[in-house]
Symmetry: C2
Subunit: 538 residues, 2 copies
């Protein structure tokens, strides 16, 4: 250190967030959809009090600082209390994706050494199947009251959350410790090999939550509904961000269909939401079919994969909802880049604005990005040069939990995404490195091709993979799921694409499917498509 | 540390802020009033480039990490470059208040061991008077181009800023170091004893700037004009905050009168401003006299002292400008509390809203506040119990530069302000501890009494002090500056107050003055009034 500043040394801790909200925004509401249906509502003050009760209860179960507590749960108020109680106590909250295969769930629960598992009743059958394979779990706590407990035969030590916390005090002295301590653990849903865990520190989560407040302009004026799951990279840290500034928080529980989300957004006057494109697609279909309007929704943050241009146009032009494309991954805690139109951008014709919105945005303060070529050399920020996206910053992993090797390259995390960055820092994901199609020495972006196909009015979903080809190395193969009642055929979609992409991008063939294979985080599993169709051009 | 998180360890450094802006918001404008009059405009990219040139120039002058560089300057683009170049290089920028007495300036320059002094030409006469008493200053750099250099006879080593940086490269590798290192130094303008220095760390400033973005909802949509001086607790960290999110920054230079500010706000489409109440009073007088309206101004943050209720009402009701009262002091880096009306508050009748706005707001995330009685016991958050305000958090001092004793009490900084805090965390400054009037065993708030007097239409300014009284211990003495052309007399103002305050609060006597004594930071110097009038009731 140079000459040290004379400032108090205080850790950035997750417990500070909920106590700040309780003291300053104690009356601000949290609204939560119970797993069994009704809406539950309380305040940040009450949430803090119940988080302290849970902290006491976990201590009484014999857990201590450093213990891991797993969760398999929806976005709801008890899961929120676990976020604060577990991390605030110096333990680690391990959020599990219920869409993982049972074998993967067993693997990550044992790998994380979860001592207690919290689960929603929805997942009782899942728990029943895996419990006997998780010997270190000493209690399975259902996030429920006694009246709504599921029956789980054959699993020992099933507890009811409300009964568990009821006898405990609302007073708890949150421990003070180093802000670099682990707070939350989330495993990648890698399609090859075992899942790998990202162990987020208190500092990383607090800084990322501050960043969320900054880039989404959160305040007491906003009501925020994170559709992005709390089991998936901390719901982009939104459950940590809203209490910092006293924004209302709406948790949708298990009901993520278009009709339920629309109803909740209207009833609770939601102004900002966040989630993956498939959610917004379903929401838009519900709204269009029923000729509905949004009363208060003004902004939706989108990540996980790219939102199709046609959907961006509908949200922004027809419904006045600003789309903010973002990018992040398990290894980046939450949001690393987010789109923001400048006042000048907003003067552009709509199609040009949509083109800007379709990109993944600029790195937020605290994160740096660059793209590199195959030799690792940094490529120019010209919006054209594409290479692997590298990321560095306050909330980026250095490695994986219990991992032996570091994935870093010169201190940067290699994302496996192929991207461009322009002179204004605007980044665009062109493809996953493994999805890029190499044909005749040139690259084709599977994402761009999918977006072009999604522009056809009869297409519900589209996916493109590269398939080995004797002459061209690889050629694109297009998969189409038609909208209900539509009769789109091969020649028509190829003719449509011929008008929109370079000739050599036009897919070699088209396969029509009833549905695309979808993985744990809602992404199309191209690996499955490759396994089945990888030899069709041989 | 508990089990460490697996996150990159990167310091929060001030150099990251300007480089982030250059990379992501390179085309966003900074507009600056030159000391000699014209407006200068450039971009964050250009600001970063010139900051790097200055960093090279300082190095060439023989300065190195840990050196102190002083500034006596307005809010302008060269001062902004110094903020980044000096701190970014690992040096300490020592911002001096030009309104300090020459003896105090000499004291702090020598105490800080400033190796270089940066100054605006306005202050050339000041420099001429103090230079010979500051032997450690090896160069006096005027923030000017060659054409506008003042003549300063008798001072050796006067340099021209533009000539100094011109030969140097726009490339500079900002050093990486511990975020707790000192970055900026600001001395209190204490009325007793020598000024004391608060040495802010990089971490404190970066976190405070992030907090500014959060609580003021800064974004690319906003244009921000900090009237609060860059020589006064970092201009509330606004010059660090706007580049983080790409907000436009407007620096008003030396022209702080109502007409100039109004003109600049309109010409540059300013949406958010910040400063002390006297600035807003002058601005309001200009607007009312000339029957003007604001086109884009929507929010003004107010601190330093309390804005009179009548002025709050005018801004919010007549001109649609939201007033955000805040509180902070030299020892808190910048903003510690800020007002924010909730949606429910906005449903209240206007007078009730004004009463909430008149309070100093809630502690922002990163800062905790409490009020304590004379034994140090924490008082209830009931909005009534008043005691000394104590503050703790990420950007609060532990002590003073080269100081030998710590001012902290149980880890909290005692502010010397008397305040109340209500159940929602809303804090109200009732008085400076030393200004409270103790009469017949009860307390009278000099601030409340002044605000009541300011409500009279003929009153331009008011001040109240406690004066020793043979029977009542102390009794309030009121000082009034009449508005031009008004004929207000003693009996009328006392009758006015009798209707508005408790009987025993009514001042014992009234003194009419042409002006109140005002100190370095624009505050009324009650010490001067006490010296002159302290014996009048004896």
């Amino acid at each position: 250190m140079l000459q040290p500043g004379l400032m108090m040394e205080r850790s950035l801790l997750i417990s500070d967030i909920i106590e700040h909200a309780a003291a300053q925004f104690g009356e601000v509401e949290v609204v939560s959809r119970e797993t069994h249906g009704p809406l539950f509502r309380y305040t940040y003050a009450k949430c803090a009090a119940r988080s302290r009760k849970l902290a006491n209860a976990l201590k009484a179960l014999g857990l201590s600082a450093g213990s891991a507590v797993g969760s398999i749960a929806w976005n709801n108020h008890r899961h929120l209390e676990a976020y604060y109680a577990v991390s605030g106590s110096g333990m680690v909250i391990h959020t599990c994706n219920p869409r993982l295969h049972a074998q993967q769930l067993i693997y990550i629960i044992n790998h994380a050494e979860d001592a207690v598992m919290l689960f929603d009743s929805t997942f009782a059958p899942l728990i029943k199947g895996i419990a006997q394979h998780c010997p270190k779990v000493k209690a399975w706590v259902c996030l429920s009251d006694a009246a709504n407990m599921p029956s789980i035969e054959g699993v020992a030590n099933v507890l009811c959350y409300e009964d568990l916390i009821a006898p405990h005090s609302e007073q708890f002295d949150w421990p003070q410790f180093d802000e670099r301590s682990g707070a939350a653990l989330c495993y990648t849903s890698g399609t090859t090999g075992n899942p790998k865990g990202a162990l987020y520190s208190h500092r990383a989560i607090v800084l990322n939550a501050m960043s969320d407040c900054m880039v989404l302009s959160l305040s007491t004026k906003e009501t925020v509904l994170p559709v992005v799951p709390m089991f998936h990279i901390n719901a982009w840290c939104i459950p940590y961000a809203t209490p910092m500034v006293g924004a209302r928080l709406i948790l949708p529980g298990p009901r993520l269909d278009g009709a339920s989300l629309y109803e909740l957004m209207e009833a609770e006057k939601v102004s900002i939401s966040a989630g993956v494109p498939t959610i917004w697609l379903a929401l838009m279909q519900h709204i269009e079919q029923n000729k509905l309007r949004f009363s208060t929704m003004r902004c939706t943050a989108v990540g996980g994969s790219a939102m199709p241009a046609a959907l961006i146009a509908k949200f922004s032009d027809n419904y006045g909802v600003e789309v903010r494309h973002g990018w992040g991954m398990t290894e980046t805690t939450a949001v690393a880049t987010l789109g923001c139109l400048t006042p000048e951008d907003r003067q552009l014709p709509a199609p040009e604005q949509h083109a800007l919105i379709a990109k993944q945005g600029k790195s937020v303060f605290g994160v740096e990005i660059k793209v590199v070529d195959e030799s690792g050399a940094t490529l120019p920020r010209d919006g054209v040069s594409q290479g692997e996206l590298m990321v560095r910053g306050q909330w980026i992993v250095t490695g994986y939990y219990k991992g032996e090797t570091s994935p870093l390259v010169d201190g940067w995390f290699p994302t496996g995404d192929i991207a461009t960055i322009d002179a204004q820092g605007l980044m665009q994901i062109r493809d996953r490195a493994k999805d890029v199609i190499k044909t005749g020495g040139e690259w084709i972006s599977s994402i761009d091709l999918e977006n072009a196909a999604m522009g056809h009015p009869a297409v519900a979903m589209a996916a493109v993979i590269g398939v080995k080809h004797p002459k061209w190395d690889e050629r694109p193969l297009l998969f189409i799921v038609r909208k209900p009642g539509q009769t789109l055929e091969r020649e028509e979609i190829l003719a449509f694409l011929t008008e929109r992409v370079a000739k050599w991008w036009v897919p070699e063939d088209v396969v029509f499917l009833d549905a695309l294979p979808v993985g744990g985080t809602g992404k199309v599993q191209k690996g499955d498509l490759r396994k089945q169709y990888g030899g069709v051009f041989a």
